[in-house]
């Protein structure tokens, strides 16, 4: 069995690992300037694409799958993973697509349509237009009816793009235009709709897996720590839910999945506030944060995806699924937390990811790797598992402190500040918390960092030059890199 991965970076590495464990052949595809990336080197075979944009090119991707004689394609997340045309094109060529059916992708790709299905299945949702709004006037009139704040969402949206909150009619006019433009750019579909915006909610999502016999769930993840609608910390189980609520949201998720005849892996997203859940959308693909669910349930979601695609069945029973301990994940990005979280591009000079008890790192970089400018600057996902949430937090902090990365700036200082935050420790973080508290958290992060630098500066001042440690060959090489880097600045 030959499986092609229509993706790159850490998720390509993750999928190659699953393919290898199952004894199949892994095939990577890569843009010209990524031929040395770890995922390319790790795969059994690799094929070059024509450009970085090829990951979004249905025709080129199908052609390369044919050329590579792939039996199946795993799309990962993002790129073409939710594209029904790609799914259909593969099917037409007799290639198995690891994921839901094209028909389901089409239905779920339309957020408004998905909401209608959920309502029909008796799952609660937030008030919204049940058609895309055709004009600014229509949007304003609807917002007036349900009351502000409202959120403008792309009908074909996802990943935090094409979403804008508006608290006044003036804001709504601007928000609608920006969301539509962003949506057009990202998804080629500028339709937007208006939904009631709930303040201070928890973002709860349920992992589902479906095969020929039905829909299974792997309980929920809590992804409430977000910045600009992008998830930063994810954990499982949610520290905010009671056991009754945990079962209730899982059953809602199964109900929605059954209503759309869902197949393979997906995630059903909800907002949670005051004991109530509101259905948001279904993501018909593997999620970035699937690892935390794997850590607490022991199920390898990627292997299950492949099993479902090839044999039509998962390898577990719902009865087997128990929540065991607690897992937390942080996304380490190449961005500068001290100047507005702008992407920090450049070459990774040194790289030593953490390890030890209860730590899992899913990454796709190595020393000498240059973070490309045209993709999301994710370096690694660091996950921890503990017997309880407290142990998971302690382990994650320990791991982040062990992480050696130089050459690019990372958001690790922000994660360390967040893991020390009282509201986070109490498990009470709601969406928008970061926006509200950002100034305070950033100040704390800065002071902590400057204290370290102050101590380092004292030590550097007192350490005579000749007393420097003898340079190893590696550090000599590194010195040349870092001199080059300084000259470039």
């Amino acid at each position: 069995m030959r499986i092609l991965i229509a993706n790159r970076g850490e998720i390509a590495v993750r999928i190659i690992r699953a393919i290898r464990e199952m004894g199949f052949v892994s095939i990577a595809v890569y843009p010209p300037d990524e031929k040395d990336a770890p995922y390319v080197k790790m795969a059994d075979e690799a094929y070059e694409l024509s450009s970085p944009r090829s990951f979004l090119d249905v025709r080129e991707m199908v052609e390369i799958a044919i050329k590579a004689k792939a039996d199946a394609v795993h799309p990962g997340y993002g790129f073409l993973s939710e594209n029904p045309i790609f799914a259909q094109a593969l099917m037409d060529e007799g290639i198995i697509r690891i994921g839901p059916r094209p028909k389901t992708l089409e239905l779920l790709g339309d957020k408004v349509e998905a909401k209608r299905v959920a309502i029909k299945a008796g799952v609660p949702t937030l008030p919204s237009t049940l058609e895309p709004t055709k004009s600014v006037e229509e949007a304003l009139a609807f917002a007036d009816k349900i009351g502000y704040p409202v959120v403008v969402k792309a009908v074909g949206g996802g990943g935090g793009m094409g979403i804008r909150v508006a608290r006044t009619p003036e804001e709504l006019m601007v928000a609608r235009n920006i969301a539509a433009k962003e949506a057009k750019q990202a998804f080629g579909d500028e339709r937007v709709f208006i939904e009631k915006y709930l303040e201070r909610t928890k973002h709860i999502e349920v992992q589902i897996l479906a095969d020929d016999s039905g829909v299974y769930h792997l309980y929920e993840r809590d992804c409430s720590v977000q910045r600009k609608f992008q998830k930063i910390i994810e954990e499982a189980p949610s520290p905010a839910l009671t056991d009754e609520e945990r079962e209730r949201v899982a059953s809602y998720a199964v109900r929605v999945a059954e209503a759309v005849e869902f197949y393979n892996a997906g995630t059903v997203e909800f907002l949670y506030k005051d004991g109530r859940f509101y259905f948001l959308e279904v993501n018909p693909r593997l999620q970035v944060e699937h690892g935390v669910t794997e850590l607490i349930t022991g199920v390898d979601i990627v292997k299950e995806q492949i099993n479902v695609a090839l044999k039509g069945s998962v390898t577990f029973d719902q009865r087997d699924i128990k929540v065991n301990g607690h897992a937390i994940e942080v996304r380490v990005y190449a961005e500068d937390p001290f100047s507005g979280f702008l992407p920090s591009h450049g070459m990774i000079m040194r790289y030593r990811p953490p390890g030890g008890p209860g730590i899992r790192v899913d990454d796709g970089v190595a020393e000498g790797y240059i973070i490309p400018e045209y993709y999301n600057p994710l370096i690694a996902k660091v996950m921890s598992r503990g017997r309880d949430r407290n142990e998971a937090i302690i382990r994650l902090k320990r791991a982040l402190k062990e992480f050696v990365i130089s050459g690019v700036k990372t958001n690790i200082p922000l994660h360390l500040a967040l893991l020390e935050d009282e509201t986070f420790i109490e498990g009470k973080v709601r969406t928008r918390y970061l926006e509200e508290k950002m100034a305070e958290i950033q100040e704390r992060m800065l002071v902590e960092y400057l204290k370290s630098l102050a101590a380092l500066a004292v030590a550097l001042s007192l350490r005579p030059k000749k007393e420097k440690l003898e340079r190893s060959l590696v550090s000599k090489l590194f010195a040349r890199f870092s001199d080059m880097r300084i000259r470039r600045r």
Binding site: M161, V174, I178, K181, E182, Q185, A186, F338, G340, L342, P343, M349, R350, R352, E373, Y374, N376, P377, R398, L400, K401, E402, F403, V404, I405, S406, L416, L446, V447, L450, K451, S452, L453, A454, A455, L456, A457, V458, A459, L460, S461, L462, R463, E467, K468, L469, R471, S472, S475, F478, A479, S482, R485, I486, R489
Partner: protein, 167 residues
Amino acid sequence: MRRSFEINGFKVEVELKDGKGKVRFDNKEFDVELKDRKGDKFLVSVSGENVLVRFVDDYTALINGRFLSFYVIERPLIKRFDGRASKMETMVPKEFLVAPIAGRVTDVLVKSGHKVSKGDTLVVLESMKMLIEVKSDRNGKVEEVLVKRGDVVTKGQPLIKFSKDEK
């Protein structure tokens, strides 16, 4: 003893006498004291908090259990106005709103003469496939718009010039 560095992009000034003194950053200052030293291991009190620094190599230190990669540029104490120093501190006059990131201008929402308030979106940039709203950092009046839709701008490039008189 006075030393001046740039560590990881932060300007630092150290002033020490008999192991005691101050460390200054652009807008923060800490009282410091060397408590103990053994070879490449330093125990430094920073604002009364003990911080243990161990050099792993010339580019990595273990600071209170955390590996910190660093690069250091030694800075002369008296600022010399040579080409190098001026390049490191390219100053943009206060009346400009600059691009926070390199990207392409997808929208300009104001014209010269417009009055704007702090927080208003003035320019929208596209970068990393995201739209970034560049917001006004003040209440004021736009004197000149320096970019147009479709322009490619670099980080730090002025986008809007504000009138000097109205703040």
